[in-house]
């Protein structure tokens, strides 16, 4: 059902946990639906210098979180905003149809974190 990559990242996720004093935090999903993703970012020179996640959800939600944080780390915010759920899915080696929303959550999580950062920084 899951690709090896998904299982690997789910078992050994990268960038898991919290960052102290993050510059931006995005939370998407809701516990009723069984998925919450929280993304923490540190931004320096308009780049994502550090990033982490906390996820309540299934294996593909956790793997998608881990994957998207790896993908955007070091990117400029505008580059990061271009990472789509399709890109995440591709890197994961695909997701089962009923799990596509997990990759969408990952895309939205990054967007929410960046938005939060920009709002706090007074950037429009």
């Amino acid at each position: 059902m899951y690709s090896e990559k998904v299982i690997e990242l789910f078992m050994n996720p990268k960038n898991a946990g919290r960052i102290d004093n993050p510059d931006g935090v995005g939370q998407v999903g809701n516990p009723q639906c069984g998925d919450i993703m929280k993304i923490y970012i540190k931004v320096k020179d308009d780049r994502i210098e550090d990033i982490s996640f906390e996820t309540f959800g299934c294996a593909s939600a956790i793997a998608s979180s881990s994957m998207v944080t790896e993908m955007v780390k070091g990117k400029t915010l505008d580059e990061a905003l271009k990472v789509s759920n399709k890109d995440v899915m591709e890197e994961l080696g695909g997701l089962p149809p009923q799990k596509i929303h997990c990759s969408l959550l990952a895309e939205e999580g990054i967007k929410a974190a960046i938005e939060d950062y920009r709002k706090k920084a007074g950037i429009k």
Binding site: Q32, C33, G34, I36, E54, T55, F56, G57, C58, Q98
Partner: protein, 391 residues
């Protein structure tokens, strides 16, 4: 490779017992006849089917003539409910069921609703129990069937079946019990119960998959679900699955023996060891289902802050087979209707775990789970944004 393989998903399906397989073998080889054939090949198959039917009947204290073999538990549930609906539609079109039934019952009832039948779905309390007063109040002049499960597959709760039957029959209403999780595991006696219809499934009791049975009390009229050659006393047509039926018969013999020998008590002891170990070792763990009136092999629990599927896959990586009522395991959005009907909030229902023991489960297996599970839960909680204020 995990250190150990521990299968704790016997409510989903059981391994075929070695003796059951041995009994089936000849019917997968030289004894391949169609029981409806007159020649020697057919006659030996017919004899085997008859003997197996008698074994199944003995397990539930029925007459062989009252055992209708089907292609599984779901089909037997459908036969009981649609068979009653179509046979009795002239008398009435109201059916009563409960909020925690298996989909084979719920979805059948919902389909009948679309065909113009009326449905009352009884609520359950926080332990998963139906109320007899509710049932009594729901029965109407037009009620033709009460269909309620004997024991629940997700939380193990055993219903007050005797009172359910008594209440319905006092008003002349037919009763179907879905006994898939109960039969073979706790004593079930149809004469004593006086139920009209009872569903059985072989693969939940160390028999083969794809074969089940419906007990139909003598005199109870049903429309068939599968029409045709008139096998199974006209109630389930189709060439008999001889090997499967022989396997079911052997599984019934095994179950009878285990029940007589009290083998179930050891299962129950290990189940208590597991439940107590979980609540001792893991904070924020909520045992679901009834504390006492539950299947002897059944442990179910909800953990705060984490989601079921991820638990399953982490456990699987450690060699442990379990299941969950999480929406993510089924690919739907809603978590288990059973847990929700018991008043468990959505987010907690997402964190459900079911561990169901079997005849080969050992104390070492349980101790292994009690070593692995706390770490799986705490690792996943560490990944979760929820509940962080508490830790």
């Amino acid at each position: 490779m995990p250190a150990r393989k521990v299968y704790l998903d016997h409510s989903a399906t059981t391994p075929l017992a070695a003796e059951v397989y041995e009994a089936m073998k000849p019917f997968l080889q030289e004894r391949f006849g169609n029981p409806n054939s007159l020649h020697s090949w057919g006659r030996e198959a017919r004899k085997a089917v008859d003997e197996s039917r008698a074994s199944i009947a003995r397990l539930i204290n029925a007459e062989p003539r009252e055992v209708i073999i089907t292609g599984g538990g779901s089909e037997a549930d459908n036969l009981a409910i649609k068979g009653t609906a179509f046979a009795l539609q002239g008398r009435g079109r109201h059916i009563i069921t409960s909020a925690i039934e298996h989909h084979a019952v719920i979805d059948t009832c919902k389909w009948l609703e679309k065909q113009g039948f009326e449905l009352t779905v009884l609520p359950v309390d926080e332990t998963g129990m139906v109320s007899i007063a509710d049932l009594d109040a729901a029965i109407r002049e037009e009620t033709i069937l009460v269909t309620i499960m004997y024991a629940n597959n997700e939380v193990g709760t055993i219903q007050p079946v005797r009172e359910i039957v008594r209440t319905a029959r006092a008003k002349g209403v037919r009763v179907h019990l879905d006994g898939v999780q109960a039969v073979g595991h706790i004593p079930v006696d149809v004469k004593d119960l006086d139920a009209d219809l009872l569903t059985l499934s072989a693969h939940k009791m160390y028999g083969p998959k794809g074969v089940g049975a419906l007990y139909v009390k003598r005199g109870v009229k049903l429309d068939p679900l599968v029409h045709g050659g008139g096998q199974e006393f006209g109630l389930r047509s189709g060439t008999e699955n001889t090997a499967g039926i022989v396997g079911f018969g052997a599984a019934a013999e095994l179950a009878n023996r285990r029940l007589e020998e009290g083998a179930v008590e050891e299962e129950s002891r290990l189940k208590d060891l597991l439940i107590n170990g979980i609540t001792d070792k893991i904070p924020n763990a909520h045992i679901t289902g009834h504390p006492v009136e539950r299947l002897p092999f059944h442990a179910s629990v909800c953990f705060d802050y984490i989601e079921g599927e991820s638990m399953l896959l982490r456990l699987d990586a450690a060699g442990i087979g379990a299941s969950s009522g999480s929406a993510c395991t089924s690919g739907s959005l809603e978590p288990s209707h059973v847990l929700l009907a018991m008043g468990i909030p959505h987010e907690l229902a997402h964190g459900s775990l079911r561990l169901t023991l079997g005849k080969d489960t050992t104390e070492e297996d349980i101790l292994y789970v009690l070593e692995i599970l706390p770490k799986v839960v705490s690792d996943l909680r560490a990944l979760s944004p929820l509940g962080k204020e508490l830790s």
